[in-house]
Assembly symmetry: C5
Homo-oligomer: 305 residues x 5
Amino acid sequence: MLLKNKIPFRYMFGSIRKEAIMIALYVTFIAAIHFTFRLNVSIPISVPMILGTVISLLLAFRANQAYDRWWEARIIWGAIVNDSRSWARQVVSFIDNPYNDKEIAAFENILINRQVAWSFALGRALRQRKNERDLGKWMSKQDIEFISRYSNSAMGILELQARDLKYALDNGWINTFQHIQMDNTLNKFSDHMGKCERIKNTVFPSTYGLYLHLSMNLFIMLLPFALIAIFGWLMIPLVTLIASCFWLIEKMSIHLQDPFENKPTDTPITTIAETIERDLHQVINQHSLSHSAERVVEAKQFYVL
Amino acid sequence: MLLKNKIPFRYMFGSIRKEAIMIALYVTFIAAIHFTFRLNVSIPISVPMILGTVISLLLAFRANQAYDRWWEARIIWGAIVNDSRSWARQVVSFIDNPYNDKEIAAFENILINRQVAWSFALGRALRQRKNERDLGKWMSKQDIEFISRYSNSAMGILELQARDLKYALDNGWINTFQHIQMDNTLNKFSDHMGKCERIKNTVFPSTYGLYLHLSMNLFIMLLPFALIAIFGWLMIPLVTLIASCFWLIEKMSIHLQDPFENKPTDTPITTIAETIERDLHQVINQHSLSHSAERVVEAKQFYVL
Amino acid sequence: MLLKNKIPFRYMFGSIRKEAIMIALYVTFIAAIHFTFRLNVSIPISVPMILGTVISLLLAFRANQAYDRWWEARIIWGAIVNDSRSWARQVVSFIDNPYNDKEIAAFENILINRQVAWSFALGRALRQRKNERDLGKWMSKQDIEFISRYSNSAMGILELQARDLKYALDNGWINTFQHIQMDNTLNKFSDHMGKCERIKNTVFPSTYGLYLHLSMNLFIMLLPFALIAIFGWLMIPLVTLIASCFWLIEKMSIHLQDPFENKPTDTPITTIAETIERDLHQVINQHSLSHSAERVVEAKQFYVL
Amino acid sequence: MLLKNKIPFRYMFGSIRKEAIMIALYVTFIAAIHFTFRLNVSIPISVPMILGTVISLLLAFRANQAYDRWWEARIIWGAIVNDSRSWARQVVSFIDNPYNDKEIAAFENILINRQVAWSFALGRALRQRKNERDLGKWMSKQDIEFISRYSNSAMGILELQARDLKYALDNGWINTFQHIQMDNTLNKFSDHMGKCERIKNTVFPSTYGLYLHLSMNLFIMLLPFALIAIFGWLMIPLVTLIASCFWLIEKMSIHLQDPFENKPTDTPITTIAETIERDLHQVINQHSLSHSAERVVEAKQFYVL
Amino acid sequence: MLLKNKIPFRYMFGSIRKEAIMIALYVTFIAAIHFTFRLNVSIPISVPMILGTVISLLLAFRANQAYDRWWEARIIWGAIVNDSRSWARQVVSFIDNPYNDKEIAAFENILINRQVAWSFALGRALRQRKNERDLGKWMSKQDIEFISRYSNSAMGILELQARDLKYALDNGWINTFQHIQMDNTLNKFSDHMGKCERIKNTVFPSTYGLYLHLSMNLFIMLLPFALIAIFGWLMIPLVTLIASCFWLIEKMSIHLQDPFENKPTDTPITTIAETIERDLHQVINQHSLSHSAERVVEAKQFYVL
């Protein structure tokens, strides 16, 4: 999750600890050769810089693309929030219930609760956790049994919603235009789900990452030779620091490019799903409160204003 | 707000005053060591430049991404203006009022005024100010009581609009196609709201910012060693100036990337909401003026042209 | 306007004349000190280059963003052309006029002419010229009086269109689906108008521009010190030229980022509006020519092919 | 056209032949001065590199923007293919012809053939060739006469399609929803046409290109002075080669940025239009083949599967 | 295909083996001249770096554009998954089958199976394999015969779907609004198909690639002269390594920019088509299971919740 809290320092540097130790040993070894055996291994600093520019550029572009994937994941979940609210609004304002029929009222709640379930189901599927069990909070046993036959449970829930919309249409609770309008909203959920799966399942081009990793290490390997004549033993912390800078930004890209992997920099799926739950439940509560009664009063108000 | 007025100079440099003083002291200290103790700490200028290219690139990319967030925020509020005008036009031209019924006229005004209220409510929520109180200018007491039960008052207002649309549909003031068309406009408002919340709540990847900040400071720390042999004491103002350049642009990115934080570079939410108010009130005034009377005259004009 | 004609040379360089003279004097002054007082002020060329990379990057990114604003403005006006044509096609092919009624024919012309007026009104509003007067070419006096009550006259015209669509719907000239389809086109015009206003009213982040300007000037100030030892007096024209290069590209960005300011690089609003006028009048002419008569003949042709 | 064939080498280098000869003479002249008159004109290589970075960046950004324009043009023509196919499918599957009426069948063919004509008409207009003559292959004489009254013949064709849709609606061959759906497809064609015109008519900002050209030439002018001391006479081919590299990429940008100019790198408009012709004719053939007969058999098949 | 598996190392380096051997020989040759004949061919390292910056930039931009093409291909196939699911949902929930008619049930299966066939047909067409034979798994012989008359078999399948939709409309199994909604889904498939073809058939601008290749080779050719004085014989592996770095990233761009060419880095078309098959078959199974029976029970549940 990536909320307003700070990322723990230890988490950040923990990820490159092994590399940092390795490079420190490597640099110490070179310094030892240089000073103990008095073997001049120094090279001009412009040699590693041949690779420096292209590596910097590719690193920056890669960070950019990783950021784009992460931001796209965030945009999708933002859209899930918006469309969930629209869905709830459509359920409440499209479905006709003039005589305050209990069956229809229950039906409306089912449609809204199932959308909450869908958000949690999708979130857990993306984090590869089994999830049918927990969905009991928002769905009936029958529904859970139904979706357990799907390998993709979020898709099963959309299937259920579509069937119930059809049922409402057949009963005359919604008209055919409203049916199509709400089917459009279901299509949007289907799109969001597919987009999340695309980001989840498509690995960042390995050749890209691998090439960059190799060139960067070649660059870092050349660094101590370039700095030894200038800094002497001081070179050991300096090269370790500079190398850490490069590795850290590479690691950051790797983390950002997979935004659904249970890491601290992830898209805050659970928090977002809880927002959806809160917002949709307020719609349900408000709806059962104000049903039919309030409306009459308001109508009279129109004159007053 | 970011309008055509100039940003005050003091505001700009005030934000990095502390850092500027720190670096000046640090550089003075190094110069003192160099000249007082005659300790040669000079290094070639190409050493800090190893980091220079990658830092410049990341700084530029980051400025770009921050600008994109800021521009996206502006686009969303631009779309809110457009859709608010479209909403007003739809209210006026869709709702049937052939006998100039007072109830319907009042109803139209309510729908339009509530949209003004929504813009202000959203703007204040984004700036984290309580706002139910002030909305009395555009909404009835009853409505304000209604939305006070929502944790998200802008969402509550959309809820009210949806209910009233349903009421109009049930009374035959609009037909089912117009209902769906106007529901689409409400969906757009829901989307705009969600997008604003996404930008507001999603922090820019902390690892990105933190890494860049650390590398940049390492780069700045190395600068005085590189410049001391060339400039001597003159180095003190020069390094301070160069470091300020880098910090200023980092600060600028940090400000731009959070466009809803009550700072001078913010999206001008209030100004935009006032434009909406002005435009929508002109529609209401014009509407009440020209109601039914004017139309007859115009119809006759068609022959003349 | 930015058409196929060349930008006059004088215009281009005229914009940085003052800066060019200033820098020439400054460089001459430094050269004078260097050679007259034999004071060695020379520094290595790598010193200004610390700022060189980051300035180049930001300058390029800024040029890119300015280009994007300019191109977006052009895209919006391109879309206005497309939608104006679609509007005319919808007016001609949606509105039912089986008995070739003169009132309906006049009504169609009014709807199309008003769209032409809208393009000109929007164009002039963006260039901040008063425009109600000139619109008499395409609109009746009554309409002009109507829109003069709006602070935004383009919005007033859309209002008029919406009212007349309603009038056509009430008279049975179009059906309810066609009404909604044409209302969608009006929404698009509303969007285009709002997008133009957004670009017009949103200043490019001042901190961005200001910072870049300051760093660039610091960079240019350091240049003569770096070049004096190499070029001697020849440095004066060289530094002036290099500085002019940087300033020119900065000026270009400033011009491109505000595409509605009456400058030679502007979006060619008037030319585009004239294209709309030409295209829409051809539709009107063709329509009045071929009305009802031609159709019968064509129907018979179907067999022949 | 830009198809899988290789670009001829001669074409590529032919475009910068003149510049290459000029620079070779210029470099020879400088070498002559240097060696004949023993006048040392050598400067350090870091002097031209002050401009090197910013020129490289702007060149790369410009190549990027030119590529974007070219790719946008390609996307538009890809969308024209898709929408043409959708149009044909709508014509065949929307229009009701239960009794296999010959007039309706001919009418369907006209609508599809006219779309083929539209693709060719648009393609030729973009390449500024007169085109009414050749359209006789797909349109009747009457239609060609009709569109000859338009300055924009592709727009005239869309006008014809809209009129015939109206005719079909009036005759009850399509219903009002199908009318609006097909009108949407016409709107898309109108959009594609307008987008092509936008790219065709909007010149790439001249100031951008001009500035870059001037700075690049200043950079190239400085190169021989920087290389003469290192390479001697060998510098002549080397500078010519490096300068050619820079000019070639500039030329490439200039070609890519205008994708409708009859050059080998153009969007393959004619090839695409021929694909549309082939695909749409297959729809017509299939349609006349299978009309009404095949359907009965298939219906029975449903049980078997 | 580009799934979570690692790319084999041999594959990666196999692609530049020939170039690596060539450059090794070339560098050895230059070293031989230098040391055997004692001919000083050394040049300063800043000479190749004139080209270094612009090559790095263009290489990075090109990698970026290649990545964009590859990602766009992935987005299109992601959208195909989403829309296939939506299609299945629409088939199941739109088509009316109150008396559980066997013909209608079979009809629904045909529509869904054909969409599976379409995915495989499109995938194979993009990889230029003949494919009518294998489609027998999801389509009747009659259908296969039908599409064999099309040069584009995926387009033929969409044609079949459109005809069957029309058949369902004529029989009253779907209403006119549902017909248009499902026709929209077919339009989307048409768009996806066309977009894939666009990426497949549009070669990356050859001039771009060729220019970059030539400049890069010029840069690499200059490298050994710059490094020989520093590294001596050690230069041979070093230059080979650095050159390999540049060639590898160029190769990577070339592979990414053509995402439908049967290479290990391709878009995983077959895997995606199999996902579609799995998901759509679950819909069919579930549908035949729960048909009409389950619904009654669920309806009663509404009270309980």
